[in-house]
């Protein structure tokens, strides 16, 4: 444990150092974007147009010095992206037999990447290390948000053995509650977010009280409860879609900030603050686990519930606390994620598998492992876009999860006997 703690604190210090460097704004709303490159060389000044499938023009952009372009589109739907071949440099062309027009669907809140098949073998040669710092900081930001959600998931698993597939809906719930307070009721985002976190935490406690505690009392098996969480996730996702609709929407405050230009990276103020909040919260959790009575009791219950109970710890009270705290943290993660992206009914569902990857990577049931694993997942997801197409970055993170389980099934900080 000491060892793990030192590793975590070291990691957090490292994170703080990187924080003093820079980061990037995550674009909000649906966009079509990409980078034009041939043999590692960026193509500047190429015109890209986007039109609806009916041929109605939606936007146009010229690639910048890095060959990048971003074209916002009004809503989710199918779009035709066309590269103007006239504007390509002479030595570069669309590959033979391929079209300069690509029809693709843009999902709700998706930053849809487009790859044009240029020249020969251009796809795998994107080794521009210049993007590394920017991506690393974006990844750190993302990883910290995942970590907030993952700590709760891991604590719940540790104390009750429940693999909670409905944890993604706790994340969404936080974001939706903040939307309710902020946009529908008109409260400024900071107090609205505070209210939403408190409400998420309370609802987490209620969920435990009305659903999971009776099931535990009844002696329902863990696998059966796992299936119940899947049913609950389906139900809640349907409910969110029913209430909120399928579209995405931003909060009223802190939209469209210009980023600070800090050396090799740009970062929006809200992302900096988001990272700060994550780090403070995670440090608070670490302190609570290591130094407070209830935190020590939590670790004792994670270790051996029967022994903890027999040494006078009120196991049910610990589990209630863990649910309240876990749900609150998940809600906060949802709010921060929605601030970076936008609010949608499947915000949490979309990152649930990454949260699981973080938790499993670190070692199921170890809170500090969840933290380290999540940071690894977040940074890996973003940095991997140097090597793999953006739309496959999540697949990459999940593949790493499987590979690590092959080599070290108990995860980075887990103990070997945890895996049967």
């Amino acid at each position: 444990m000491r060892h793990a703690v030192r590793a975590v604190i070291g990691g957090l210090l490292a994170a703080l150092c990187v924080l003093l460097l820079p980061g990037a704004a995550v674009a909000a709303g649906e966009t079509v974007q990409g980078r034009l490159q041939n043999a590692g060389e960026a193509l500047e000044g190429v015109t890209i147009t986007v039109a609806t499938v009916d041929g109605q023009s939606v936007g146009e952009a010229v690639t910048d010095a890095e060959g990048a372009f971003v074209i916002p589109v009004p809503e989710a739907g199918d779009y035709v992206v066309t590269l103007d071949e006239e504007t390509l440099p002479e030595r570069v062309a669309i590959r033979e037999g391929r079209s300069a027009s690509i029809t693709l669907p843009v999902a709700v809140d998706q930053q849809r990447s487009v790859l044009f098949p240029l020249g020969e073998g251009t796809r795998n040669v994107q080794s521009d290390l210049d993007r590394l710092p920017q991506l690393a900081v974006e990844g750190l930001n993302f990883g910290l948000i995942i970590a907030l959600a993952a700590v709760g998931l891991s604590l719940i698993y540790g104390t009750t053995g429940l693999v909670n597939f409905a944890h993604g809906e706790l994340i969404t719930l936080g974001a939706l509650l903040a939307y309710l307070f902020n946009v529908t009721m008109g409260i400024q985002l900071v107090p609205a977010a505070l209210l939403a976190v408190v409400a998420s935490a309370l609802l987490g406690g209620v969920q435990d009280r009305v659903l999971w505690r009776p099931l535990r009392k009844k002696g329902t098996g863990l696998i059966a409860m796992l299936v119940v969480t899947i049913g609950l996730a389906l139900f809640l996702r349907g409910l969110f879609l029913y209430q909120f609709g399928g579209s995405t929407a931003p909060y009223d405050d802190y939209q469209g900030q210009t980023g600070y230009d800090l050396g090799p990276v740009t970062i929006a103020p809200k992302d900096l603050i988001s990272m700060g909040i994550c780090i403070v919260m995670l440090l608070a959790v670490a302190y609570a686990l290591l130094r407070t009575r209830i935190g020590k009791a939590t670790r004792a219950v994670s270790d051996n519930p029967a022994l903890a109970a027999s040494s006078g710890i009120d196991v049910e009270r610990v589990i209630s606390t863990v649910w309240v705290a876990g749900a609150g943290l998940a809600g906060l993660a949802g709010i921060l994620l929605a601030l970076a992206q936008q609010v949608s009914f499947q915000l949490g569902f979309q990152i649930l598998l990454l949260v699981f990857a973080g938790v499993t990577l670190g070692g199921l049931g170890t809170a500090f492992g969840a933290l380290v694993g999540s940071l690894v997942v977040g940074i890996f997801t973003q940095v991997s876009t140097i090597f793999v197409p953006t739309e496959l970055k999540n697949a990459g993170a999940l593949a790493i999860l499987i590979l690590i389980l092959l080599v070290r099934p108990q995860g980075i900080l887990g103990r070997a006997e945890r895996v049967g």
Binding site: I102, T103, S113, A224, G231, L234, F235, Y242
Partner: protein, 330 residues
């Protein structure tokens, strides 16, 4: 409210394409989950690999349909081995996380722009089903049974589908009363006891994963032929979750459980859909409570609630035997 239409639609759904697809997927899942106790949350991946194996072979490489089927079957076997070799030694909850992750990887790969040359990206692939429909012995026309009516293409798809369901059930029935099947059930009950009897548990689990995967891949073929197009989002995690609901509804570790479960599942969904739609158009439900767009969501919520209620109050489903459930064992 046109009750005869509502009932006819529900009956049609009971034998329709969705029932066929999910019955086959659930039969495979029943081998994993019901008989062996494997928590495979990646069943959708088997459907995807089979459907795409068929579609890519036929549409992109212009191979005959039978070769496409062979590619799909091979794909499912390879996927089962790839998935099983690293994960079957892990504990049940780890297996669940890894299989669900693997299924998402498969879906994301088929979705990706970089491979869209072969897979058609998120639009998917078409133009591969003609080989299947060209061997249809039925002439053009309407075929029906009582109030149910299908055209010759639907009739052909459904006949093939129900034949496959029949054969799969027969296979599962025969295998599970064989000594081999008894070992699977014993693994579900107590892995260590089986190991102490000198059985290679890992090998049996892997065989079970392959068998269930191949059965699931029949569902992939039926998806491809029935819809005449394969799209990555047909194979999302929700597909697997629906299949689980069906297995548990019908009763895990029962030969006909998945089939009955699928028929009831889709009949119930059709009933709620149709009743709500009709009640809306008759003006019984105002827009402030439920818009037409929201009917689909009510359906998802019902599936979720149904799955929870089943698991809590009747985990053996309609026809299962409570003693034959691995759920509470570990």
């Amino acid at each position: 409210m046109d009750w005869s239409l509502i009932l006819t639609n529900a009956l049609t759904a009971m034998v329709g394409l969705d029932t066929v697809i999910f019955a086959l997927a659930a039969i495979g899942l029943n081998v994993h989950f019901g008989y062996t106790g494997l928590l495979n949350f990646g069943q959708a991946a088997f459907l995807a690999v089979a459907g795409y194996g068929l579609a890519i072979s036929v549409a992109e490489f212009e191979l005959p349909t039978l070769v496409g089927v062979a590619v799909g079957l091979l794909g499912a076997v390879v996927l089962a081995l790839l998935l099983g070799a690293p994960t079957l030694r892990l504990r049940a909850d780890y297996l669940a996380i890894v299989t669900i992750a693997a299924a998402e990887i498969v879906r994301l790969l088929f979705r990706s722009v970089s491979l869209s040359e072969y897979t058609g990206g998120s639009d998917g692939l078409g133009r591969f089903a003609e080989g299947f429909y060209s061997i249809n012995p039925l002439g053009p026309g309407e075929y029906g049974l009582g109030p149910l009516e299908f055209d010759e293409r639907q009739t052909w798809v459904l006949s093939v589908g129900w034949t496959l369901i029949g054969l799969s059930c027969l296979l599962v029935f025969l295998l599970m009363r064989s000594p081999w099947g008894r070992v699977l059930k014993a693994i579900r009950e107590d892995e260590d006891a089986v190991r102490s009897l000198g059985k290679n548990v890992f090998s049996y689990k892997l065989q079970s994963l392959v068998l269930g995967g191949v059965l699931g891949c029949l569902a992939g073929f039926m998806t491809a032929w029935g819809r005449a197009v394969v799209q990555p989002d047909n194979f999302s995690t929700d597909t697997t979750f629906y299949a689980y609901t069906i297995v548990i509804l019908g009763g895990a570790a029962r030969v006909f459980g998945p089939v009955v479960g699928a028929a009831i599942f889709w009949a119930l969904l059709s009933l709620t859909d149709n009743i709500l739609t009709q009640a809306k158009s008759a003006g019984y439900i105002s827009d402030s409570i439920l818009t037409t767009f929201q009917i689909g969501q009510v359906r998802i919520m019902l599936v979720g609630l149904g799955l929870m209620a089943l698991m809590i109050f009747r985990p053996q489903g309609l026809f299962g035997d409570r003693r034959e459930l691995a759920l509470d064992a570990r």
